[in-house]
């Protein structure tokens, strides 16, 4: 992260220097890396292979996912303009490299571009076609074969071919893009890409994990013709150039108003607009995103009708700022909708650094579990709308543990555990001390400014059990950095999770990510081990038996074996007690003006945001009607809607 940031700064400095010198010779020179790319392919003959259609295995079972249900609603109308907001003006239009991982990236990549095939949001692990018309999975060799749609076009009209996929590997593995995560992912995940003809390819992965096809089918090509100038100056050269996209939305140069707003425009002749899974989606012609930094101002803009939709996840917004008896809601101008979704849940909770004194004591950790009153937070702060999280991996269906329960707040149990750890008497301030005079006090670090109140509640409650939580609210980057450097006692963070079949354990629980050489060859603790930084093992959790389980799990290709292991590891983790599970939000709720229309079933099962799949549309007539009615005092039926078809019991 810091390296990225430094590089970004270098970029800024360099540009500054160039401008200062007034030199333009380097900028006007046009690079052409076609030969370089070919040489690269030749240099890695294992990775890049060129064959003919005749070489395709004959017995492939081709699938096309066309029997899956449609997405969106056939009632959807195309057209209209949607007004929204972004917190920061995008710092770049690149989707990789320094500063590219901002909130605007969803509009450039995540939600809009097309992979080969996507997970159907209503089904368990079934794919619907996007860039591919057909694909075949060979589980033995961990290979996915795909046939591209011959009609697929980049937004500048150039056909999308297998070459763009080959180039994608070159691009993501190159040092030019200054994106170590991508370098690493492409290096370690895939072992081969083969070109059979312009529209047929295959991708092979290094391991045939049960969900390997997801990694392959999720690949999104890069436009080779656009990145001909790819070189050392990628970061600056492509900073403000909109790359041709496979998706429906483009950013035109004139729609970038620096520091103020960005507007996206729908392609009239988008190649996929009549396809089964896209015809009812991406309905809005123009999406205007204005920069509004302060959430309260965003809300006020929404209330004025300048913005069409506003997320009401926080109780404060749902109950206080936009209550059901608010005139705009009661008169039917603004609808409020709750949608219960099903997906892996971000694991909000307290992550204890077990390499710290006191926290390395199992009894202390168990005590802290009992001393942390999440139930009160859920009850009083979230008003009972959220539920308690039970393990690090809730929401993975069968992979989540069926009956593990997080420990509830219990002062007596907490004191029992603390007493077992030697903390028996209370000091003058009511905090427990042991015989050496050590106080039972820990710093809780977080980067979530909006959730600081939660920590103050936990702090007051923990004091009852004799623990002091010192609260440290840092800037988000600084907090994350502190946790990555393993400088924290206890961190209040959540790791974002995408929709995946099975939870990951290696990142957060394997000793590889806790210490350099955590164990000696015989499995005993290495006395000279050093804490490893810049990993996601926030608990510095290192256990030899657990390592074995994680390794088997990681290499396993049997779903049954993985299920058993997953449950075993979650049980181990529960007993180890180094993570105090927090809360789960099993829904999202939004307020939207009457003219924003959603399908009758509102949305599909897995997205975490209402707009993620772009199934909504804007009814411009209804907008004019609503605004006129609001001005004239005419009212409509209020709508407060709950969609609980996917609510988990």
């Amino acid at each position: 992260m810091s390296r990225l940031w430094r590089t970004g700064l270098m970029g800024v400095l360099l540009t500054g220097a160039l401008v200062a010198c007034g030199g333009e010779s380097e900028d006007t020179q046009v690079r052409d890396n076609t030969q370089e790319v070919l040489d690269y392919y030749a240099a890695y003959p294992e990775l890049f292979q060129f064959k003919t259609p005749a070489d395709l295995p004959a017995d492939l079972a081709w699938e096309n996912g066309m029997d899956l249900p449609d997405l969106g609603s056939p009632d959807a109308q195309k057209g209209g303009t949607q007004y929204g907001s972004i917190q920061d003006f995008p710092r770049t239009l690149r989707t990789v490299g320094p500063d590219s991982n901002g909130g605007f990236r969803t509009w450039l990549l995540d939600d809009v571009t097309l992979p080969l095939a996507s997970l159907h949001p209503d089904r368990e692990f079934e794919f619907y076609p996007a860039l591919a018309t057909q694909w075949a999975v060979d589980e033995d060799t961990a290979t996915v074969y795909a046939r591209l749609d011959p009609n697929a076009r980049w937004s500048d009209g150039v056909p999308i071919t297998t070459d763009d996929f080959m180039f994608m590997f070159f691009y993501h593995r190159s040092e030019y893009i200054v994106a170590p995560w991508y370098n690493n992912y492409y290096e370690n995940t895939f072992s081969n890409i083969t070109r059979y003809d312009d529209h047929t390819l295959s991708v092979t992965l290094k391991t045939n994990k049960p969900d390997f096809m997801h990694h392959a089918l999720d690949l999104r090509p890069e436009p080779q013709h656009f990145y001909k100038e790819l070189g050392d100056d990628f970061v600056e050269r492509y900073q403000w150039r909109f790359a041709p996209t496979t998706g429906p939305y483009v950013v035109r140069d004139e729609d970038l108003v620096q520091g103020r707003s960005v507007t996206l425009t729908r392609l009239d002749n988008w190649w996929a607009k009549d396809k089964k899974f896209f015809r009812n989606r991406y309905n809005i012609d123009r999406v205007v995103l204005n920069v509004i930094r302060d959430t309260n101002n965003v809300f006020e803009s929404f209330k004025r009708g300048d913005i069409d939709q506003f997320g009401l996840n926080l109780a404060e917004h749902w109950y206080e700022k936009l209550p059901n008896d608010d005139p705009d809601v009661a008169n039917g101008y603004i609808y409020k909708s709750v949608f219960y979704n099903q997906r892996p849940r971000p694991n909000y909770g307290l992550w204890m650094n077990t390499s710290r004194p006191l926290l390395d004591n199992q009894e202390v950790r168990v005590g802290l579990q009992y001393a942390t009153n999440w139930d009160l937070v859920i009850e009083s702060f979230f008003r009972g709308d959220y539920t308690r999280m039970n393990t690090t991996s809730d929401g993975y269906g069968e992979f989540s543990h069926p009956d593990l329960q997080a420990r509830s707040f219990d002062i007596d149990m907490a004191q029992e555990s603390f007493a077992a750890a030697g903390f028996t008497s209370r000091g003058a301030d009511g905090i427990l001390v042991n015989e050496q005079g050590q106080r039972l006090a820990f710093t809780v670090t977080t980067g979530y400014e909006s959730l600081r109140d939660i920590l103050t509640i936990l702090r007051e409650e923990a004091a009852k059990a004799g623990v002091e939580y010192r609260i440290e609210v840092l800037d988000q980057t600084a907090a994350w950095q502190k946790v990555q450097e393993k400088q924290h006692d206890i961190a209040f963070v959540a790791l974002g999770v995408g929709v995946e079949m099975s939870p990951r354990f290696w990142d957060t629980m394997h000793s590889d990510n806790a210490y350099d050489d955590a164990f000696l060859a015989d499995g005993s603790v290495n006395p000279d081990r050093q804490v490893k930084v810049q990993t996601n093992n926030m608990e510095v959790l290192a256990n030899y038996e657990l390592d074995q389980m994680i390794d088997v799990y990681a290499d396993s290709s049997s779903r049954e074996e993985m299920l058993v292991l997953s449950h075993q590891m979650l049980e181990f983790h529960h007993n180890y007690a180094s993570f105090v599970p927090g809360f789960v939000q099993d829904f999202y709720r939004i307020g939207h003006w009457r003219w924003v229309k959603y399908p009758a079933f509102f949305n599909h099962r897995t997205p975490s945001l209402a707009t993620e799949l772009h199934v909504h549309w804007i009814d411009m007539e209804a907008k004019a009607q609503t605004l006129a009615a609001r001005a004239g005092g005419e009212t409509f039926e209020p709508e407060i809607r709950v969609f609980d078809q996917y609510r988990e019991p």
Binding site: N296, E379, S380, R452, T456, I457, A478
Partner: protein
């Protein structure tokens, strides 16, 4: 003694004649007194508990676990509940609660849901509660106390350093003056806010809140004394060439004596007039730092934090911002009035006519 000096007595008399400033001063002194005994007025600990024939004074003592008063828990006694319990039992046990029986940090909701509640005298939430149901009066009181004591300490420290260095520069002049001027020019160009952010990011969080306040104070003083030196330096230059300084030197007075005994009283008038502005600057600085999130760690009560909560709940909970803003206005007005009065009473020209 300075207090017996007839000149000083005259100034005090003059000050008392300026009613607006004088009453402001009295009001501020009264406030300071209240702050000094704050724990007796606003606190969730009882003032006196009479239990089983024995008297307890929990305010300033170590915490009393519930078991001390026959309650079944080992954590700090909830004295409000205890009072209700005593009344229910109807025995000889009794206790006396402070006027506002809440601490600044405890969440006390009347509905079981943590949300801002409007002022409710029946629950003794006289200014309502904030977004997590903490008593605003308690938070305001302790937040203001921190800000005010901080401001006073800040002013004293800045004046001490500023006067000493400024007077030395003016008095010694020459190379010393030249060098120090350059040092100050460089020093005053170091961005203060960044320094605070950087320093606070490296302070270990194990340090107590009091220590953090002290660090904040030192950093602010470190970057604020420079402006004072300019005035001191020019004033001292002016006074130095006067005859009375020359005669003091002939008598054999030391440099220190000349500066502090002879020159200082003559330049005080100018300095004193700056004092209220320094106090105001300190209060606004600590408020602004809290507002930006670089002040004291949560849940320390502070004016800035209240203002921030208030502005983000402007429509739904206007009582938060009104209390915080009102306090700030009153406080700054008082200090300004006092400042005006001091300036006027120190002015040797009693009647000034502007032409």
């Amino acid at each position: 003694m300075l207090a017996l000096n007839p000149e000083t007595l005259k100034k005090i008399r003059r000050f008392r004649q300026i009613k607006r400033g004088y009453y402001s001063f009295l009001a501020l002194m009264f406030l300071l007194l209240l702050f000094a005994i704050g724990e007796l007025l606003i606190n969730n600990r009882a003032l006196i508990v009479s239990y089983e024939g024995e008297l307890y004074f929990p305010t300033y003592s170590a915490f009393h676990p519930g078991t001390d008063f026959g309650l079944p828990y080992s954590y700090e006694t909830n004295y409000r509940d205890l009072k209700a319990r005593f009344q229910e039992q109807g025995g000889d046990n009794w206790l006396l609660l402070p006027l506002v029986p809440y601490s600044a940090n405890e969440n006390h909701s009347t509905t079981g849901i943590f949300r801002p509640e409007p002022p409710a005298p029946e629950y003794q939430h006289y200014l309502g509660t904030d977004t997590t149901s903490r008593d605003i009066l308690a938070r305001l009181f302790y937040g203001t106390r921190t800000a005010l004591f901080f401001a006073i300490a800040f002013t004293l420290a800045v004046y001490f350093i500023g006067i000493a260095i400024g007077a030395a520069m003016g008095y010694f002049g020459g190379l010393f003056d030249l060098l120090f001027q350059r040092v100050i020019e460089i020093w005053s160009n170091v961005p203060f806010l960044y320094m605070v952010i950087i320093i606070f990011s490296v302070i270990p969080d194990t340090f107590s809140i009091f220590f953090r306040i002290m660090v904040l104070l030192s950093v602010m003083v470190l970057f604020s004394w420079t402006s004072m030196t300019y005035f001191m330096r020019t004033e001292t230059y002016k006074q130095k060439s006067r005859d009375y300084v020359a005669s003091a030197r002939i008598i054999g007075a030391s440099d220190t004596r000349i500066i502090f005994k002879h020159i200082l009283p003559n330049v005080l008038a100018t300095l004193v007039t700056f004092m209220p502005f320094t106090v105001i600057a300190a209060i606004t600085a600590i408020t602004a730092l809290d507002f930006l999130g670089f002040g004291l760690p949560p849940p320390t009560p502070s004016l800035g934090e209240l203002l921030k909560q208030g502005t983000s709940n402007l429509r739904t909970a206007p009582w938060i911002v009104t209390s915080a803003f009102g306090t700030l206005v009153v406080l700054l007005t008082l200090v300004t009035f006092i400042g005006e009065a001091i300036r006027e009473s120190f002015d040797p020209k009693r009647f000034t006519v502007y032409k």
